[in-house]
Each structure stands twice: as structure tokens, then as C-alpha cells.
Amino acid sequence: MFFELIRLQFLKSLRSTSFAKSLLTNIFLGFIILLLLGYVFGAGLLLNRVIGQLAEGQDSLEVLNSYLIFFFLTEFLYRYFIQSLPVVDLESLLHLPIGKRKIMHMLLIRTFISPINIIALLLFLPFGLEVVATRFGDMAFLGWLGSLVLTSWILHWFMLWFKQRFEDSTVGLLIVMGVLVLGGGSSYMGWFNLGELTKPMFDLAITSPIPLILLFLAFLGSYWLCYRYHLENAYLEDLSPEGETRISGQSIGFFSRFGLSGEMANIEWKLIVRHKKSRTYLMLSAFFLLYGMVFYTQPAYMENERLSFILIFVGVFITGIFMIQYGQLFLSWNSGNFDFYLQKKDGVEQLVRGKYLLFISISVICFLASIPYVYFGWKILLTHAVTFLFNVGILIHVIIYLALWKPKPMDLNKGAMFNYEGVGAAQWLMVIPMMIMPYVFYLPFALLINEYAGLAALGIFGLLGILFYKKLSAINVRRVYENKYEISSSFRQEL
């Protein structure tokens, strides 16, 4: 029975249409994961030497043990964002006469098979062999490494419980923020040193088996906690992640000046606010507004009189992040109701124009919000203004044009992290023209005359694009109409 369930799971992932369709994406992802794990292992190999360099004269094991807690706090954070819940598979199994307990065990154990769970092992195995095993012997090595790996695994079960318990709620977010503040802030502000407080436990793991045993019990306990909670909540009503009665996202009055396309922009706004995936995209855009802080605080980019090339890219990104992120899946967002637009007179045209309106409005907001960066020099403001013009004048059309290449359906209620539904070859390849385009306009003038001429060129082409907005957007509208049968039939397919 148990193996039958596992076989079903295997078949499910193998036969899901998205797997077959996005084989390329999957291979690419697999490759990325291997690469990342490779990096982790590499970092593990170098760990001893790196610590030796950073904390000269101190014992590297002592240093590592005092910082381990921060590793686990970080792990807590990335697990919160990445780790997915197993319950989505439950619906099709619940009604069968298989015991709920069995299903739960299977689902939970399946989540355990994940690259995240070998990160701790890969990172600390070389260090353990190199330092702990040679200095304290094999038993100590096992005790120490075992404690670390078990702590990581406890976090796995704990997180499954935690996410299910506080999913999408402010409490959960507050706790995560609290962990962040506690971890980083306390030591930084000097309230108390978290690292020193937890160090004895890891030290003890070397000399005695008690921590290992305790952690093992905690590991079983955390599994039990997670299992009990999931078992008790294994009802369909508990699985729907969103509160049904809460109606969020009101119409934005400003859009109503733009007639029907304004109405479409309004609907699209509601779509964004009311689906999990699009909400995450929106939040990411807000987050990327801070992207400038990474670059503008670097003297390397700012000190010399010349404008660094890279700043153009940063500007494009800050003022256009939403259209770049959200726009790359242009029609896939509407895959569930594309027929609605098809069936209305001029519906598709109004939809595309509504999206244009929304992208441009949000771009304006991003530009306005980025004005405080003028603190880092008026050149930054100039760059932002110019890249903003370029984004709404030219890049917007390019993104939409590329996104219309074989759009794929997707489920908007799934999370956005590591969810590659709707992503096809086009979305991967799209990055290239997006990175290169601004420089195609900028570089010739910047190199031949000076960087301000380059900026001027970028701005002027942007303005030209805005002047010819009607003509350029008509190209994309026509493109949707030309492919409407293919698009609508692919959207009607099951995911």
C-alpha cells in the first residue's frame, strides 16, 4: 500500500502536463539546484580556512560553534520562504479507504526528501572531518555533526507545522520578523550575545552524547507535532488557504478616467490583490525598490565622476520591476478567464490596454517612490527619470511582445516561490533583450560623446516610444488576436 502511494506520487509528477511542457525549465532547475549544492559543499570544504582568515588566532571550532545559531536562524528564514506544504496532494486521496494516518506519514516523509535537508550535512561534513574528527576522534565527530544535522531536520518539521499553522497570517510574519531581529539585532546592538549563549550546547555535543540524544528526541517530537497537527487538520475546508469572507482590493478611482481599459486595469488590480502568486509579485516589486541601496552605497560605483554603466541597469530595474516581473507572464495571469475577454467585443484589446495602463501607473509610482535616492546624487535621479521614460516608452512593448510567445496557463493560487508554472522558454530568454536593450541605445552615444549624451539618447527614444504609444501597443494587440485560438485552447487545458 505504502509503495503504491509512492508510485502514485511519482506518476503524478511525471505525468503532470506542466512537467512535460516545461521539461527545459525542470532540467534547468535541476541543474541550478545541483550547482547550488555544489557551492554549498565547496563552501564546506573551505570553511576551516575561511574562519581561520576571518578570525585569526582564534580556534576555528570555537568560532564556528558560537556562530552556528545564526546559521540556523538563517535556515529558519529560508525554510519559511521556500519550503512548501504537502497538503495540496491530499484532496485526491482523502476519500479513499486508505487510512488518513498512512497518507499523512507518506506526505510528510515525501517532503523530507528535499535538497534543503542536506545543506547542513554538505556544509559541515568537511569541517567535521578536518577539525573535529582529527582532534577529538570519530565519536565526537558523529556527535557534533549529528547534532547539527538533526537541528536542521528539526527545523524542517517545525517549519511544516509553523507554516500550516500561521500561513498567510500576520502572526506568522511577525514571528519571522522577530526571529530576524532577535538573531541579527541582539548581537549587533549588544543586548545579549545569542551566539555565546548557544555555544555550550554545540561544544557539549563534541564531548558527550547527551545533546545528540536530546536532539534526536526533539527530532521525533517535532515530527510528531507536525504529524498530529496535519492529521487533525486533514479536512478539505482547512486546506483552502484563504479566508473566504474577506474581500480585499477595492477599485481605484483614478483608473475610471480611462474608460473601458481603465475598468480592465481595475479588474486586473483586483486579480493581483486577490491571488497569492500575484500578491507575492507585487510585494517583490516593492522590495526591489530598495535594490538601489545595494548599488548606490558602493563607493566603487559612485565615486568617480563618470556614470557607471551598471547604474542604467539598476535604474531600469527599479522603475520597471513590476512590468518586468509581472509582465513576463502577461496573459498567463488571465489563463482562467481568457474566454471572457474573447467573447466580449474588443475585449482582448481592452484587456491588453488595461494592462498597459496598469504597468505604466505602477511604473510612475515606482519612479516617484525612488526620488529619495537623489540623496546619493542628482545623477541618480536623472538616471531614474531617463530609464523610467525608456521603460514606459520602449521596454514595456518589448516585454509584452516577448511574453506573448506561447503563453502557458497557471494556477494563481499557488505561491510564487519556486513555482515555475506558466514559465516557458520565452520567459528565460526574455532576460537577454531586457538586459541588452537599454545599452543598445545608451552605449553608442555614451562612448562616442559622453555618458550624458547616452542618457539623453535613452530618454529621447523613450519619449519617442511614448509618442508612438498607440502604434506600438497596436502591434501587441494584433499579436494577441492573431494567436487567440492557440492561446485560448492552451489556457483551457488542465494544469
Partner: protein, 231 residues
């Protein structure tokens, strides 16, 4: 009103629809029946220009459907959930449609009045997204939306499916009343022979994409259909 000429839909080798000619006059209630896979939905989708025909053409009021969009102004349809904006509440959805069709608030109110009985207080004024409604209520929203904006032609795919018995009867009354008062041409596909023979003036039977019966005589319909489906 609606003419179909030499229509064919082929997926690779398989011919799923092959309709040589079909005329539906204005004001007719046209019923489409047939077993699963007979091509009912495909026919509707081609008539609504949602699927490209391999050959042939469909015209509504003289407009060829894949050449212009004029006909969409007076054509309403509800085939499946893809035609709803499921992330809106029913009220928001009707408001959106009102703006699309350029109606006034009062027009919308008058229109929705007609559905009071069918909605049974479960649709309007509820703080619930369409995607969270039950299948039957979803259908009611779709049907009300299809009839919005004074259409002259209305396509309904399986309108009685998922509705409770009293809703089925109310819907039947509603369709008959609309047909009487507004001379709407209805195109209805259904598996429910009782309902469809009761409201439709004409019933066409599809089998493997071909029209094999075209029944006009109300008294004969039920008998003929039963004979066919009993096999």
C-alpha cells in the same frame, strides 16, 4: 440569423465536427443534443469564434464570426467557468459587465430583477468570490451574465446541469419568458431531454460531429429522441 456553412473541425486525422449546413432563424429556441464527444461544445465554440474551424464559416446576422467582432455586441454566451472572472464577487462581476456593455445602474437593476427568483438570495450582496460559489450558483451567475446587455443571441452549454430541481424549473420559465418578450434566439445544448424538448422549438441531434436528426415537430421530438438514445 445564424448560418453555418460547410463547417469542419479536424484534429490531425480525427474529424470531430462536420456540419454541412445549418440555418437558425431569429427568435428560434435551438436545442442541441448528443452523447458525450458528439461535438456539441466544439460547435458552440466555433460559432463563438473561440476555436478555429478547419474549414467552413459561421455567420451571425450576416457578420462572419472570424472576420469581425460586430456580432459580439448582441451575442451572449455561457459555456464554462473560463467565461467568468472568478476572482470577483458576483456583484463586482455584474458591475464590470455593466460598464463593458455601457448600461446604466438602473438598466442593470432591471435586468437582475428578473433573476431574483433564480438567484434565491444566494448570489447578490454576498461577500464571496465567484470561485468560492457552488457549481450551481456559478452557473446562475454565468447565465445571468450571458443574458446581460440585451443580447439577440444567447448560447448556453448545459444550462440545467448542477442546478437543483426548483432552479431548473425557474430557469426554464425564465428562458421561455425572455424568448416570448425579447425574441432572443437561444442556442442550448443539454443532456436533459425533458427540459430541452419542453423549451425548444427545434432540436438537432449530433453524432460523431454530424447532424443526424433535425426535429421541428414538438409532438414527435420526445419519441424520436428516446428511440435514439435507448439505442
Amino acid at each position: 440569423m445564424i448560418t453555418v456553412n460547410n463547417l469542419k473541425k479536424q484534429y490531425k486525422e480525427a474529424v470531430v465536427l462536420d456540419v454541412e449546413s445549418l440555418q437558425i432563424p431569429k427568435g428560434e429556441c435551438f436545442g442541441l443534443v448528443g452523447n458525450n464527444g458528439a461535438g456539441k461544445t466544439t460547435l458552440f465554440r466555433i460559432m463563438l469564434d473561440l476555436v478555429r474551424p478547419t474549414q467552413g464559416e459561421v455567420t451571425i446576422e450576416g457578420y462572419q464570426v472570424n472576420q469581425t467582432e460586430e456580432w459580439k455586441k448582441f451575442t451572449g454566451a455561457y459555456l464554462d467557468e473560463h467565461m467568468l472572472l472568478s476572482y470577483l464577487t458576483p456583484d463586482e462581476y455584474f458591475q464590470t459587465l455593466r460598464k463593458i456593455y455601457g448600461m446604466s445602474e438602473a438598466d442593470l437593476e432591471v435586468h437582475l430583477e428578473k433573476f431574483t427568483e433564480l438567484f434565491n438570495d444566494e448570489i447578490r450582496g454576498k461577500k464571496k468570490y465567484i470561485r468560492d460559489l457552488s457549481k450551481g450558483n456559478l452557473k446562475k451567475v454565468g447565465i445571468a451574465a450571458a443574458l446581460l446587455g440585451k443580447p439577440e443571441v444567447v448560447f448556453l452549454d448545459e444550462p440545467f446541469e448542477n442546478l437543483d430541481p426548483s432552479s431548473q424549473i425557474r430557469l426554464k420559465k425564465l428562458i421561455l419568458k425572455e424568448k416570448e418578450e425579447s425574441r432572443i434566439t437561444f442556442l442550448i445544448s443539454s443532456h436533459d431531454l425533458n427540459h430541452v424538448t419542453e423549451i425548444c422549438d427545434r432540436i438537432v441531434l449530433l453524432e460523431k460531429g454530424k447532424i443526424i436528426r433535425d426535429l421541428h415537430e414538438k409532438s414527435e421530438m420526445m419519441r424520436e429522441l428516446e428511440a435514439y438514445f435507448m439505442g
